[in-house]
Amino acid sequence: MSTTAETSRAKSGFSLGAGAYQKLLAFASLVLLLIGFSLASPNFMQTANIIAILQATAVNGVLAVGVTLVIITGGIDLSVGTLMTFCAVITGVVLTYWGLPLPLGIVAAIGTGALCGLTSGFFVAKMKIPPFIATLGMMLMLKGLSLVISGTKPIYFNDTPGFTEISRGSLIGAVLPSLPLPNGVLILFLTAFAASYILERTVLGRYTFALGSNEESVRLSGVNVDAWKMGIYALSGGICGIAGLLIASRLNSAQPALGQGYELEAIAAVVIGGTSLSGGRGTILGTLIGALIMAVLTNGLRILSVAQEWQTVVTGAIIIMAVYADMMRRRKMG
């Protein structure tokens, strides 16, 4: 119909070019921070410290990747932190209390995560409980259950020798001794890559965006909205299970009291990374950058020995500024 050709706006080539440029620029705040800290302290830009920063990103990064999926559907997940802990505790039960072999522990962590995620998804999709409440309830239940199951004490993995390798070992370092990247970081990148692939290239990813964009319209198109939504929460839960493995292996123990507060940090990474809390838009790459910005900030300020109370103040101010710069950049790009 519209007979007038619209060559000028339809040039997708241009927008693709702009997209790539934009992606590069998204790193701007991060790069600025890196440069700033490098100039401020000679101890900052050293291989060991960069690895330390990456390792500090791993757990929060994986959680953030998981919660990104849920946020893109227009939901929220407050239970990610305590779910991570719960998965770690279950792994502890499987490996230490029951003495089963390592692979089963890994399956248990991810399976528990997926199952709890599915439950949250059920509350949200079938029982129509607002995601905030459903996952708040889940957070409290899991927090309590972790304490109950573990008997309110840490479960150590001393009997499972390979366990700490999951996070602390370095497969890459074994091949390239000059790059001793811990496995935990490798797992973060693999998880992010997989999640990104699912989001961009699969049906599940498509419905993730579609649900966040206009759930009613998806429903009117005859899609089984509830099932897909539960699937997305389950996937997100499974990813929290991976985070549970990472933290347990890093600490060589499942700490039942840990985890609360981590949800806020993960969600912050997601939002700093440009994903909208109202759903429909977001990227895993952005989330990774968001998580890195937070880790670099914390690490850099500590290296500079800034007093802790001021660290908090500066972190708050820089987060606001970084996001503001990002908003400006995007507005300019149109």
Binding site: N49, T152, L251, A257, T298
Partner: protein
Amino acid sequence: QDKMYIPLISKGFQHQFWQAVKTGADKAAAELGVEVTFEGPDNESMVDRQIDMLAAALAKHPSAIGFAALDSQAAIPLLKQAQEQKIPVIAFDSGVDSDIPLATAATDNVAAAALAADKMAELIGGKGQVAVVVHDQTSRTGIDRRDGFVNRIKEKYPDIEIVTVQYGGGDQLQSTELTKSILQGNPDLAGIFGANEGSAVGVINGVREMGKKDVVVIGYDSGAAQKQAIRDGLMAGAITQNPVGIGYETVKAAVAAAKGEKVEKNIDTGFFWYDKTNIDDPKIAAVLYD
């Protein structure tokens, strides 16, 4: 006939230290045939939540109350209420700044941390840089241990520099990252003091991950990871309190007070230095927990 009921309102719940206090309390309860409950807020800044717990405890008309105040002043109205209702109050952990509690079962945290400072000075040869990783910037135990350590170093060891004091919330992971940044920022560091279990374990993790072999680590409290680190030589030694004893003595004093018996005003449950050499000493082993 109803069992005597004694609620213990502590400063925390999930941490191993508080669980050990609970263990002691439960033990005394079993021995003396009374019923005990144990409650504490999620972290040591939640002063008002602790007050709400105390209020709920009073509503249950208990025979006596055990109380570890996060902030004594804030609790005064409720403590007065307890006094009016003739419910005896026993303070534990750190004291309650008031004459209402009939007895106090506590550790002198300042003195204990000063002992840690002495040990640190001894182990690093009286000079060099040290750092402190504390669990909390504002709680009584955090302040006392930090100040006990820092002041002793300042007073007695002029050649030792305290480069930084950082706070990790007692969270092992956060304390690990914190320690790594401290080590990164201060490559010549000679020693680190971790002021509670979570901090100390975090310090050990951080030192291990950074591959630093010559940093002297001193911890506080016990727990399986810390004990293992001492055996492995990663940690030079640690201060332990007697949490089980605190819990036990608190309940014992509470029962006595409820029966109208006279109780000793100050029950010092003591603190001990332990390291590789004495960790298996039965006297020490008795006050350590996993």
